[in-house]
């Protein structure tokens, strides 16, 4: 180990030299590190601080409370109902399967629900709440709450969901809410972010859809701090949103309920209008379905059944269904002819039971003919030949113009879905759509509301209202939004000749109140409630020669879907009408037998705000009516209004 001193000195110098070089290199490296630190922390500090904030803060939306919908009496017809669900948080639960097993035994959950929950739990991070069961009763929630210590990780939660207390009565008007689809989001350029909240519901059809803007409200926000796993650490601040606005409709839920009970079992549309302002008091399409099923998510078989029902419950027959108006169209011809001066009220036309036009024979509904008739009788007895004659004299263009003035072929703007414009044909239309010239036979068919003419019950209601008032009434469905009254639309006079109006009103009066009128059996004998109207029977299929030979003479002998539609439009009381009513019963057979009695009952109900006295009915019908009223009252809502119980 002994070494010459010279070497030792050399060795020591070497280490010293290298040590200093190494120290220099280390110092240099540290300077580089400090420089990098300065670059990141000073030069780019703002960028990185922003990134850190984005990491940290999440903005969560607070869903707004959807506006309620009331009827004209203030009854809530679309409510927000608190519903209860239970969530489970895996990391709080510990043994998830054991906890779920206890829960299932406590509130009676089916095993497949537990299976589904377990699958969901596995898919999510341990702190994410997973819904185990929804729409629990208060009793179930209470049982869970009282057993909370045995159910770690289980939390009962409350949410709001739409509930329709009248179930199906108003489904076609209100529509329903449902989950947001990808298509809904794609429709909007910048979709409201609240739509992306899980479980958020928007109006799918009807008022719910068309008044969505008012009903939805604006979402509030809360800023929350999250950690790297997305777990919420705390709420930083919150900005409350605005609740949706409440809407009041012109509908009277009790009248609506009565109407639905009255036409239950039929495929029908009934509209009641307040003739003073166009308010729609009832808009009933039958049969109905329960919108609450859709809110909760309807099952495949249930939906299939609704689709396959031949009575088409999903269709709103009041605005979407279009029918040949039949004889209810005759007032259009009468007005047009009087206005054009092509006839005068006392001119008598001979009805032999048919009319030959350019080689084709057009029949009157009364095969034997009506004989000589003036306009009033032609209306009240609903003579077809008289109006064939008027149609030929007028030509289709004049008929078309008058139909439009009375509101036919016009899309009336109320916030409901799939509103049809019907069809008010003219030669132009036929050329464009059918590629064929208009023939005089088309005019003849159109003059009794057959052929190409199609009208929705709403259009017939508007026509009736305009005939009864002489003013251009338009329907109104929304009475107020957010407590602010919707203006009653202007209804300027139609400019119809007063004498002509009087004649036609007399014709409609005699239809019901004259012994020979087609609706004589549906007259009201109460003086203060005298009703006018017009029946209509529109052919869906003609009875073929073969069927006639086989003995088919009457509608009842035909299968249901080939029978005629039954229509009735009416108003009252005379002389200052306030209530208009339109009834269309699909395949009902005949206007006078099927539609007029319903229309009278609905009219009287609307007028009296409840069951009318039996004295309103002709003496021989009173026993039958008493029975009917009793039966209906059993099917209707109790007087206290709809209960909150659910089926």
């Amino acid at each position: 180990m002994k070494r010459p001193a010279r070497d030792a000195a050399e060795t020591s110098r070497s280490v010293t030299r290298r040590g200093l070089v190494a120290g220099g290199l280390m110092g240099g490296t540290m300077l580089v590190l400090a420089g990098r630190m300065r670059h990141l922390q000073v030069a780019e500090a703002d960028t990185f601080r922003l990134l850190a904030e984005e990491n940290r803060i999440n903005i969560r939306l607070i869903p707004p409370v959807r506006g309620l919908i009331h009827d004209r009496t203030g009854q809530v017809i679309a409510a927000n109902e608190q519903y209860y669900r239970v969530d489970i948080v895996r990391e709080d639960a510990g043994d998830v399967e054991m906890v779920l097993d206890r829960l299932a035994r406590l509130i009676d959950l089916p095993p497949e629900m537990i299976e589904r929950a377990l699958r969901e739990i596995r898919r999510h991070r341990p702190f994410v709440p997973v819904t185990v069961a929804e729409r629990l009763t208060w009793e179930q929630i209470a049982r869970i709450a009282s057993n909370a210590p045995a159910l770690p990780g289980i939390t009962p939660e409350a949410g709001l969901s739409r509930f329709y207390p009248l179930a199906g009565d108003l489904v076609h008007v209100l529509g329903y809410v449902g989950a947001v689809s990808e298509r809904d989001l794609a429709e909007q350029e910048v979709p409201d972010p609240v739509l992306r909240l899980p479980g958020f519901q928007i109006g799918r059809i009807g008022v719910e859809r068309h008044m969505e803007g008012a009903l939805r409200g604006r979402a509030g926000t809360k800023r929350i701090e999250v950690n790297a796993l997305g777990r919420v650490m705390r709420e930083l601040d919150r900005q409350e949103g605005t609740a949706g606005r409440n809407i009041q409709l012109t509908i009277d839920h009790r009248l609506q309920n009565y109407v639905q009970a009255r036409v239950a079992g039929e495929s029908a549309a009934v509209i009641v209008m307040d003739l003073r302002n166009g308010d729609l008091l009832a808009m009933a399409s039958s049969p109905t379905y329960d919108p609450n099923l859709f809110v909760r998510g309807i099952s495949g078989p249930d939906f299939r059944a609704l689709l396959d029902d031949p009575y088409r419950p999903l269709v709103d027959k009041t605005v979407q269904g279009v029918y040949p108006p039949g004889s209810t169209y005759k007032m259009v011809l009468a007005h047009a002819a009087l206005e054009a001066g092509l006839t005068h009220p006392d001119e008598r036309v001979f009805c032999p039971g048919h009319m030959d036009v350019s080689g084709r024979r057009f029949h009157c509904w009364r095969r034997g003919g009506h004989g000589r008739l003036n306009m009033v009788s032609a209306l009240s007895e609903s003579c077809d030949v008289y109006f064939y004659e008027m149609g030929i004299r007028l030509g289709i263009d004049r008929v078309h113009a008058m139909a439009e003035r009375l509101g036919l072929g016009v899309r009336h703007d109320i916030p409901m879905s799939s509103i049809s414009a019907g069809l008010n044909p003219n030669p132009q239309w036929k050329r464009d759509r059918r590629g064929d010239a208009w023939r005089v036979g088309d005019t003849v068919n159109a003059s009794i509301g057959q052929g190409f003419v199609l009208s929705s019950p709403l259009q017939l209601m508007v026509m009736t209202a305009r005939l009864a008032t002489g003013r251009a009434l338009v329907p109104r469905l929304v009475r107020s939004v957010g407590g602010v009254e919707e203006p009653v639309p202007e209804a300027p006079p139609l400019g119809l000749d007063a004498r002509a109006m009087a004649v036609i009103r007399q014709g409609m009066d005699e239809t019901v109140n004259h012994r020979r009128g087609t609706a004589w059996n549906s007259r009201v004998v109460e003086a203060a409630a005298r009703m006018s109207g017009k029946t209509g029977t529109s052919q869906v299929f003609s009875i073929t020669a073969a069927e006639r030979a086989a003995g088919v003479r009457r509608q009842q002998d035909l299968p249901w879907n080939r029978r005629n539609h039954a229509l009735f439009v009416g108003y009252g009381p005379q002389p200052a009408p306030t209530i208009g009513v339109t009834v269309v019963i699909e395949h009902g057979g005949g206007g006078s037998s099927a539609a007029a009695p319903v229309a009278r009952d609905v009219y009287l109900q609307a007028l009296h705000g409840g069951f009318p006295p039996l004295s309103a009915y002709p003496e021989p019908q009173r026993n039958r009516m008493e029975t009917l009223q009793r039966e209906l009252s059993e099917r209707m809502l109790p007087p206290g209004g709809p209960t909150r119980d659910r089926a």
Partner: protein, 382 residues
């Protein structure tokens, strides 16, 4: 000079040794450790548990180890160097056979009382054995190829065993530390130029091996390299560490967000925030000022070691002191470069600050050697 001088000069003995302890160095080490406690306390959300308190106990143990080592004469340590190196190699082999698997690597040897990480031990024994080797070797022969080869074998043996665990970070530190020892011992600089050239070639080879049957690195190691080259490729996967750590650093700004106010670390965006990435928490909460302060403390420790080494008389003492300093430097330089996105993510803790036992004890052992060399250097009699 040599041990001959111990005959003409005297070295402190007995209680006098206490006076000759390099107390400034002790103070600096404690200051750095205190920074670690502060950060561990903050990361735990203002709590001594689960990290700060055990870390304090470990540092106390580390101080005890340091003083124990320091009061043993430096020549004793020189004499046991080869033995210590042999033992650490043996432990590295043993850990391969019987070690505990944790975090995807076999690094720990459970001795019942203490969980030992032989790879940490290897760092200091490598420094010791190389110092002893070059102390023994004539300086003129140091650059001769056969003697260089022996040194290289001494370095590569533990490095290879550690790489097999696999622990890339420690293997790199071993190679860097060993290389530093060779540099300090005066091996000709041309060797280093060649090694650097070879290193570049090796990196190319490793990258070329990817996806082939003889792939040298594990897939996760390749992903870390990719993430280093471009952290934004996979911000939530392999690049996550680097991205989040840069965000934390950057958001600290000049003076930081304040003690216990760092959102990145408190909200768990930072991975390994109490171990390898603890520097990001510091930089986030105390900013550039805090980061540079820690860097300065580290620099002072290095400076004290170098100054001490310059005043030492024998080669072993000098080489051990500088070797420990170099190792310490590589620790924090690699760690900081890594969290600042200047180097790929390899598992290297921030010395004395990161939560962890083995690394700290071994470091304190190393500083014990430094103190021992400092205490036992010959001083003029009288």
């Amino acid at each position: 000079m040599s041990y001959l001088e111990y005959n003409v000069q005297r070295t402190p003995a007995g209680l006098a040794k206490v006076l000759h302890v390099n107390w400034s160095l002790v103070l600096l080490l404690t200051a750095v450790a205190a920074v670690g406690w502060l950060m561990l306390y903050s990361i735990a959300g203002g709590s001594l548990r689960p990290w700060a308190e055990p870390q304090m106990k470990r540092f106390a143990l580390g101080l005890a180890v340091m003083f124990a080592v320091a009061f043993v004469p430096i020549w004793f340590w020189r004499n046991v160097s080869v033995l210590a190196y042999g033992v650490s190699l043996l432990l590295l082999v043993l850990v391969q056979q019987f070690g505990t698997v944790g975090m995807g690597a076999q690094r720990w040897l459970d001795l019942g009382v203490i969980r030992l990480q032989p790879s940490e031990l290897a760092k200091i024994t490598l420094v010791m054995v190389l110092a002893a080797y070059y102390d023994w070797l004539d300086l003129r022969r140091a650059s001769r190829p056969q003697w260089v080869l022996i040194a290289l074998v001494l370095i590569v043996l533990p490095a290879f065993l550690v790489l097999r665990q696999p622990d890339l970070g420690t293997a790199i530190l071993l190679v860097l530390g060993g290389g530093a020892m060779m540099f300090l011992a005066g091996v000709h600089w041309l060797y280093f130029a060649v090694v650097i050239a070879l290193g570049v070639g090796a990196v190319a080879l490793v990258l070329a091996s990817r996806g082939t049957e003889w792939q040298i690195l594990k897939d996760y190691q390749f992903r870390r390299i990719d993430a280093f080259l471009d952290p934004s490729i996979d911000p939530l996967g392999a690049g996550y560490h680097i991205n989040q750590s840069k965000i934390a650093l950057g958001s600290g700004g000049w003076s930081g967000r304040g003690f216990m106010q760092g959102t990145q670390s408190r909200l768990n965006f930072l991975p390994e925030k109490h171990t390898d990435f603890i520097f990001t928490s510091l930089a986030e909460e105390f900013g550039f000022v805090g980061g540079v302060s820690l860097l300065t403390l580290y620099g002072l420790i290095l400076a004290f070691c170098i100054v001490a080494a310059l005043r030492m008389k024998d080669r072993f003492s000098q080489l051990v002191t500088l070797g420990v300093a170099a190792n310490f430097f590589f620790y924090f330089a690699v760690n900081m470069a890594m969290v600042m996105g200047l180097a790929p993510v390899v598992g290297v803790p921030l010395p004395l600050v990161s939560f962890g036992g083995s690394a700290m004890l071994v470091l304190m052992f190393g500083f014990g050697l430094v103190q021992s060399a400092h205490i036992h250097r010959p001083r003029a009699k009288g």
